[in-house]
Symmetry: D3
Subunit: 173 residues, 6 copies
């Protein structure tokens, strides 16, 4: 069994998670350098006006509890990303932090993940944002089942062979 | 320790996951009837034109593998929803099915969850859709880190005390 | 392979988790009735005066966050009890609730677990109390590594063949 | 999103798991050195005389099985500490060892955890001790539901910026 | 989204886990009756003569510990089968019991799983046998890395629509 | 608590997972060097002629889906080996790859695991092979419950103090 060279991709494509014969695979990172990697992702949850009013009026404790439960759920999920995403590598995150805030009628969740390793932490940040957003939905679904999650997307990353990446300001809301 | 009556809510609110004194809590479902519950959720992933071309040109195996890996990841995550979402009840799902398709420049994931139990399966469907969408991102992120996930949202549910619910056609894309 | 009759115990003993030939085993509950079962457990964490002062002075947000993080961790762990305790049965808990309060220089965690099933939920309540207590320790260990956890113990249970049980008031603090 | 400097603490406090604005957070360990870290914790379980007699009379196999099941459960839980304790970092433990012995009418569990990493392993040792103690309870609860767990506490630690720590002999039993 | 009728299979095949359009799926069991289901599986591990001698000479404690660790690992894995096998349903097992014995130069593991549910427990029994066998390998691999696992296979099952099944005596060793 | 020297073994034996006093234990790897480790394992699943015909005739999609589901399940299980095998160390695998092919009436699964660490990845490769084989069984069990898994065995390993190891060609099929 010959391992393909690091980051080999099918001819004519750039899908590193697909092998030359077209099958899903993990990327072999054994030849990559251990560097400090960071990623920041954001997740949005759009509430209707009544639900947002309820969340705010319920004030200190209530809002705090919804947002803090979401933050804790997101942190815990980020640490378990490799269990959830089949081709993800296990990563020992140095920190996962989540900020939750209200922006007009939406909840904004910003997740930063940091690790020293051979692979990036984009998926950790995005998984944290998704599960935090799902938790906001869960805490509020008795009031409005129509709440929408999204966009969930990467804001920036640093470290690793592919280097730094920043979302175009023009593509951000 | 007196358990609050089923579904008790803080005065003036409808946040069943917040206790009268403002703390996150599980809802007590011990008094609820066991009924068949279903939920359908959808998740969208927006690709740029190049990535979509790559996904399609890569054709049979490649596209299949990206979408099937996403489907399997979503099914597995849906079964573990109560581990991820702090206030969710453990549910023995009777089935979780995921359909993945390409709609213009987007991937659409439809997740149906079914269970007989005392609590709904909306979170199972939404968690399946989110993790399937994250997996699509993971499989394609080497090509475009800017891929966006969302909306992830409930389409319909049936069963339980709150009965049937259907997303307004006008709110659907 | 003959299954031993329900609740068979080694001759002369009452250790249902030890087989007649002296080996750890799960108890076969397939013949037991499905009834509503409850259990209440408590867990204590003893702080020194400085740490307690810090926790209280840090006031609203700080204390709330330490205790709420502990409550969420305990609820999540209680739902996963059968993963942690080798001979425990999987249980679909109808609710796990945790109250956290300060009693002099101690944190008191009271956990109630409820389920409809063939087996009791004592271990769910005790596991929730233990993990909530460990989380309090984790949140405060930068201040005092000497913090002690305990006692963690059952307060009461109801339901099932063995019926109701209540801790002697004389054995409670 | 500016990451706070390593180990920053709220003004006037030392609660590293609480952010300056009073929210639970993981500590950022990305700037810490990788060193060998050890921690030893103990956990006690107090039995009544009858239960202890039963445990001992049941002799070789029985006692061995109760204690060995507890040891295995504790080792497995210690490896999964970061899943259970929300703000804990994933740690690749080099070893977790548990000694179980009977001291008068109590079971004593001593857990040692060792890892090379950026963060200590106190929580791993304490989690191992707690889950081992819970398992002893589970194995014996058919005989006595009143069994008490505790104290569970740190005995010593070494390595890391905060250096060595040893429980006062005067505070030990 | 129309759910296929229960147990629908692709035309001309009997692969219930493959949808008519050729994709992996969970079987919808929501229409199935809750009945008591049992399954017995066996797993074999073949040692060389030296390793078997070592295992036996090491006698009481040693052999016991290898086999008991394997039994506990198998029980715990059986309870988590639906996490490991993508299309498996969550099942609340009423009991999982494992017998381990030495037969000439082989270790024989017999696993019985029992549950009341809408789906069989064959996978629980087989997963328990596989993980118990892997644990025997792990405990002995320092002596012989060439140890072979297998066969792992179903011996019998009962309950459910497909009724009872028994392995042909002629196909058993 | 004195830790035994690295790799200490009971007198007269080579069972590193058994302590001198005969109890299961993790091996202390804190003194071992971090090196690149690889392991290759294989797992076989024997089908009867009808099932194999069905698998092949079902052709592209069907066969692909059975084998790909098995591959994904095996990769995910390999990443969680330390949760399943009690004395295994957590390992951050750099890659797990699985090849699945049909050889006469059998499915052959080859798993390669690679990691940089203080401990080998044999168990990761073997666990991946076992769970992939169980998944093949699960996908086909509606057709034939008599399908046999095995042998599951190590083919080769490299790295670490014990160096390289290769299965005798004469012992391979």
């Amino acid at each position: 069994m010959n391992r393909p060279p690091e980051d080999s991709k099918p001819p004519g494509t750039a899908l590193s998670h697909i092998s030359p014969d077209g099958r899903a695979r993990m990327v072999d990172v054994s030849g990559k350098a251990v560097t400090c990697r960071t990623a920041v992702a954001e997740g949005w949850v759009t509430l209707n006006a009544d639900t947002m009013a309820l969340l705010q009026e319920h004030g200190g404790a209530g809002k705090g509890d919804v947002l803090q439960t979401a933050r804790i759920a997101g942190i815990q999920a980020a640490k378990r990303t490799s269990e959830l995403i089949p081709m993800c590598h296990p990563v020992a995150t140095d920190v996962v932090n989540i900020e939750a805030s209200l922006v007009e009628n939406r909840v904004r969740l910003i997740v930063e993940a940091v690790a020293s390793g051979r692979t990036g932490v984009e998926m950790e940040a995005l998984t944290g944002a998704s599960v935090a957003a799902l938790t906001v939905y869960d805490m509020l679904k008795a009031v409005d089942k129509g709440i929408e999650i999204g966009p969930v997307r990467l804001i920036s990353k640093s470290g690793g062979k592919s280097g730094d990446w920043q979302r175009d300001a023009s593509r951000q809301e």
